[in-house]
């Protein structure tokens, strides 16, 4: 065969091959597999406190082209339940998970095993980790600073002098690392204020709060605690104590709006949802990307500025 004929056949074959490859790329280019699925496992996921967080997740999912699914969970999530839920989600095709770790030392070990299968993003630090040093990427507000700012707000109302006052601490779970940080921040700021701790209560059953002795301030360190305290204050069952707290539900805001709560610190749950998913998206799209922890802001709300433009936006996310 002549060389020119060989070259001609070779050229033709290469061109036909290119065409076929192009067609394959075109036909097989967009498959469903391209849309990554991310599952979110948080305790009491249907609760209104997660509304902003879920809205943030939704917005990030739209922006980043991901599919996000929030697992429906009960008010109290055990380690075993959380593990089962995560594994079930991975089995159902989740490419990554966003997890609120249940309190307890064993959670980190469980998450380490999960991390070997899919990327894991936490929305709260695990218990065994030292402050600021995390084995997992975490997206959350600076809980210590939130505690500090809450203490500042208490002091502000009394021109910095709350000497001799008694404080009652109320929270839904004492084990949580976040609550521990908030409490530490709170007390660290008030260490020279000469206040006394009347009681510290982690609610185990309903109605415990109103049975506590009278204090000057009730400090609710989490959303559930704040809602409970607000409810008690609305029912005048707090012996005239002023309520300050940390929360991010419309119910908590409502108690502020109605004057039952003096001040609330609202972590930016929208950003927590948005940034955690955005970071996961980056990891899923670029395998070599190393996920980073990020810190979200928080807002201090008081009744007089509740309907300021900034706070209205926070309320907007809570109402979604």
């Amino acid at each position: 065969m002549k060389t020119s004929k060989k070259v001609f056949i070779l050229l033709g074959a290469v061109l036909v091959l290119v065409l076929i490859v192009l067609m394959f790329i075109k036909v097989g280019g967009k498959t469903e597999k391209d849309i990554h699925k991310v599952s979110v496992i948080v305790s009491d996921s249907e609760d209104t406190q997660w509304a902003s967080f879920k809205y943030g997740l939704r917005m990030a999912a739209e922006d980043k082209g991901l599919e996000v699914f929030t697992v429906s969970t009960g008010a109290v999530l055990t380690l075993e339940e959380e593990k089962t839920a995560i594994e079930q989600e991975i089995d159902n095709g989740a490419d990554a998970v966003i997890v609120e770790p249940v309190p307890g030392a064993a959670t980190a070990d469980m998450l380490k095993k999960i991390e070997k299968k899919v990327p894991v993003m936490l929305v709260r630090q695990t218990e065994t980790e030292e402050q600021g040093v995390s084995a997992f990427p975490v997206t959350e507000a600076d809980n210590y600073q939130i505690g500090v700012d809450l203490a500042k707000e208490v002091l502000r109302d009394y021109d910095g002098n709350i000497q001799g006052k008694t404080i009652g601490l109320f929270m839904s779970s004492v084990e949580s690392e976040a609550i521990a940080s908030r409490e530490k921040g709170f007390w660290d700021y008030l260490k020279d204020a000469e206040v006394t701790l009347g009681w510290s209560l982690a609610e185990t059953e309903e109605g415990m709060l109103e049975q506590q002795p009278a204090v000057d301030f009730v400090i609710a360190l989490d959303n559930n605690g704040l809602e409970e305290a607000g409810k008690c204050a609305a029912a005048n069952n707090l012996h005239g104590a002023l309520v300050y707290g940390i929360g991010n539900s419309t119910e908590a805001v409502y108690y502020l709006d109605t004057g039952k709560v003096e001040c609330i610190v609202v972590p930016d749950a929208f950003n927590m949802g948005y940034q955690s998913l955005a970071e996961i998206a980056e990891k899923l799209l670029h395998y070599s990307h190393k996920m980073q922890s990020s810190e979200v802001s928080y807002t201090v709300m008081r009744k007089n500025d509740l309907f300021s433009e900034e706070n209205q936006n926070v309320l907007f996310t809570m109402s979604q």
């Binding site: 809205y55 805001v253 929208f270 907007f316």
Partner: protein
């Protein structure tokens, strides 16, 4: 440098005709395809952009109309409440007609409304629908919608979306509303006072409308802002509030209706603006350049695939066309090359009429050449033959005259026996001389002829010299040119021994040497001067003073004409010692066939001579 590139390009250019045609066709086709592809892409791109823009424009207009309808409806509700309910009723009316009529209106339109409320000039709630518990101190007079109504009494005012801060909701919900407020005149117990009528529209109606047009996930999106650029609805509203992304709403709010090209956050985009009447709100459609490009990716792929397909087809077509065009020429070329290589002259005739004509012309010219060549060869042979004939014919008259004169003397002197001998020798001489007109005879005949000649000459010269023939008998059966020895012998007598008193000797020797016949005539005569020897074989005019008039030049020429330039005579002479003249000829066996071939003027090569010798040897053995 430029020339270097040209040279290297020139080197790579195809040399063959088919390759040249195909190369040229392919280059032209590729250029045309590239131009075509680009034009197609630009055209498609422009049409696609236009269609996307038109589609967006239409969608914006439709949504704008829906929004206007909705807002007009709200205004109508406001008008109806004001003119048909508030103006017709006294607030203190015990029959609560006002409340009932407001309730009727609310129930009819509750899908679009959050609430209807009437406040007096102190901000006190006069009536509300649905009936709800007012917050402890909503501070209505400090709310924007109230202030706007009171500041511009003649207008209706649409607020931007905000949280309704009027009523307690036991479900802990906060409603996002757009307030339509206006100043109204209230009648309370017969007194007229100013107040504000507030119609709170449910923001979800507007956001639903906007969400509907934002469902397309192609990159383009629509948002709504007020005349100052404040966002009313945006699909990424919270991201903008949080500073995660941004929007150019401040600038868009300044645009009049139409489409604009702008660059925002480093990206080019097209913005289509439609103003919602009365409110001054701007409905803005944004088409990022990436959306256009995204739409064009498919077209780009399609065009590339089409171009590749066309390219393959064009290459195949080019190959076929170039092969069809060049095949007849290549065939013609091949046949001409075969002809040139000495093969059978069959010129290819085929292809288009022009090429066939060319082939015919080449064939004709080759045939013509062939004929002419044959004619030339024939003429050449004829000419050589006639030359030979002419040379041979030069011998006869002079010698015959001398011999006849000698015979006459003999008869006059009554030496009859000698005369008879002379006549018989002369007869033999002539018989061989004539040889039936042949040019080539056997060596034996030639020697016979020489002997006869010398016998005649010995009589004429009264035996003053002797003649010795010492010839290898193997030579007898070889070919020789007729009458080559006789002129040499004549010269030997004339220049050598003829003038000697006695002791003159002429030797004729013959032998084979390397497939050549060497015949030598050696005399011990006077010899020839050195300068004479030089001219002996070149100048035919110098030797005619003696002898028969046929010089050595003649003999040399005849041998060379018949056998080739490498054969002929060789003369060695030394004055007073003698002369040796050698004849060199190829040893061609004397057969009828060889004789005819030689006489036709064909020159045998050495190999052929050997072949013929072998053949003759075989024939002889048989």
């Amino acid at each position: 440098m430029k020339n270097k590139y040209f040279r290297s390009l020139k080197k790579r250019m195809p040399k063959g005709m088919q390759s040249t045609i195909m190369f040229a066709f392919s280059i032209i086709s590729i250029i045309i395809m590239l131009i075509l592809g680009s034009v197609l892409y630009i055209r498609f791109s422009s049409v696609s952009r236009q269609e996307t823009t038109n589609g967006t424009q239409k969608l914006i207009e439709q949504t704008g109309e829906s929004l206007e309808d909705y807002l007009v409806r709200m205004r109508q509700i406001s008008d109806t409440i004001y003119y048909n309910v508030i103006k017709e009723n006294d607030l203190s009316n015990q029959d609560r007609d006002l409340q009932r009529e407001m309730n009727l209106l609310y129930e009819t339109n509750k899908d679009y409304l959050r609430s209807i409320a009437i406040y007096n000039s102190y901000g006190s709630l006069m009536a509300a629908e649905p009936v709800a518990v007012q917050k402890e101190d909503p501070n209505v007079t400090r709310q924007d919608w109230y202030k706007q109504a009171m500041n511009e009494v003649e207008n209706m005012h649409f607020s931007t979306p905000h949280i309704q801060n009027l009523f307690n909701d036991s479900t802990f919900r906060y409603y996002w509303v757009i307030s339509l407020s206006r100043m109204v005149e209230l009648t309370d117990k017969g007194d007229t006072q100013t107040g504000v009528l507030l119609v709170d529209m449910d923001y979800s109606n507007i956001s639903r409308m906007m969400k509907q047009i934002n469902t397309l996930n192609s990159g383009q999106y629509y948002y709504l802002c007020d005349s100052s650029g404040k966002i009313i609805y945006h699909p990424r509203q919270m991201q903008i509030q949080e500073g995660i992304s941004g929007e150019n709403s401040q600038v868009a709010a300044q645009y009049k209706d139409g489409s604009y090209d702008e660059t925002f956050a480093g990206e080019e985009r097209k913005v289509i603006v439609n103003t919602i009447s009365y409110t001054g709100w701007k409905l803005v459609g944004v088409i990022p350049a990436s959306t256009f490009n995204q739409g064009m990716v498919n077209i780009k792929e399609f065009i590339v695939a089409l171009m590749l397909l066309l390219f393959v087809m064009v290459i195949i077509m080019n190959r076929i066309v170039s092969a069809r065009i060049s095949r007849p020429i290549l065939e013609l070329n091949r046949s001409v090359m075969e002809y040139e290589a000495g093969e059978k002259p069959e010129i290819y005739i085929g292809g288009s009429s022009e090429i066939r004509h060319l082939a015919h012309s080449i064939q004709d010219s080759y045939e013509q050449n062939e004929i002419l060549m044959n004619e030339v060869v024939l003429e050449q042979n004829e000419r050589r033959k006639s030359e030979l004939d002419a040379l041979q014919s030069q011998i006869n008259p002079h010698f015959l005259y001398n011999t006849l004169e000698s015979i006459t003397w003999m008869i006059e002197g009554e030496r009859n026996d000698e005369a008879v001998f002379m006549i018989s020798q002369l007869a033999r001489l002539f018989r061989i001389s004539l040889s039936k007109g042949r040019t080539v005879i056997s060596v034996k005949d030639e020697l016979q002829h020489a002997q006869s000649y010398m016998n005649i000459q010995k009589v004429r010269y009264k035996n003053t010299f002797s003649i010795v023939f010492d010839v290898d008998p193997a030579l007898y059966s070889c070919c020789t040119v007729k009458l080559v020895l006789q002129p040499i012998l004549e010269n030997a007598i004339s220049y050598g021994v003829g003038s000697m008193e006695e002791c003159g000797e002429i030797r004729v020797e013959g032998r084979l040497k390397n497939d050549d016949i060497i015949l030598e005539v050696i005399d011990n005569g006077l010899g020839i001067a050195e300068e004479e020897v030089e001219y002996l074989l070149t100048d035919s005019t110098r030797v005619h003073t003696h002898g028969s008039g046929v010089g050595l030049v003649n003999v040399n020429n005849r041998i060379q004409i018949l056998f080739g330039k490498e054969y002929g005579l060789h003369v060695e002479s030394e004055p007073d010692k003698g002369t040796r003249i050698s004849i060199c000829m190829p040893a061609v066996p004397y057969t009828e066939e060889n004789r005819k071939i030689l006489e036709k003027g064909y020159l045998f090569s050495r190999e052929e001579i050997v072949d013929r010798k072998i053949k003759a040897g075989i024939d002889e053995d048989k």
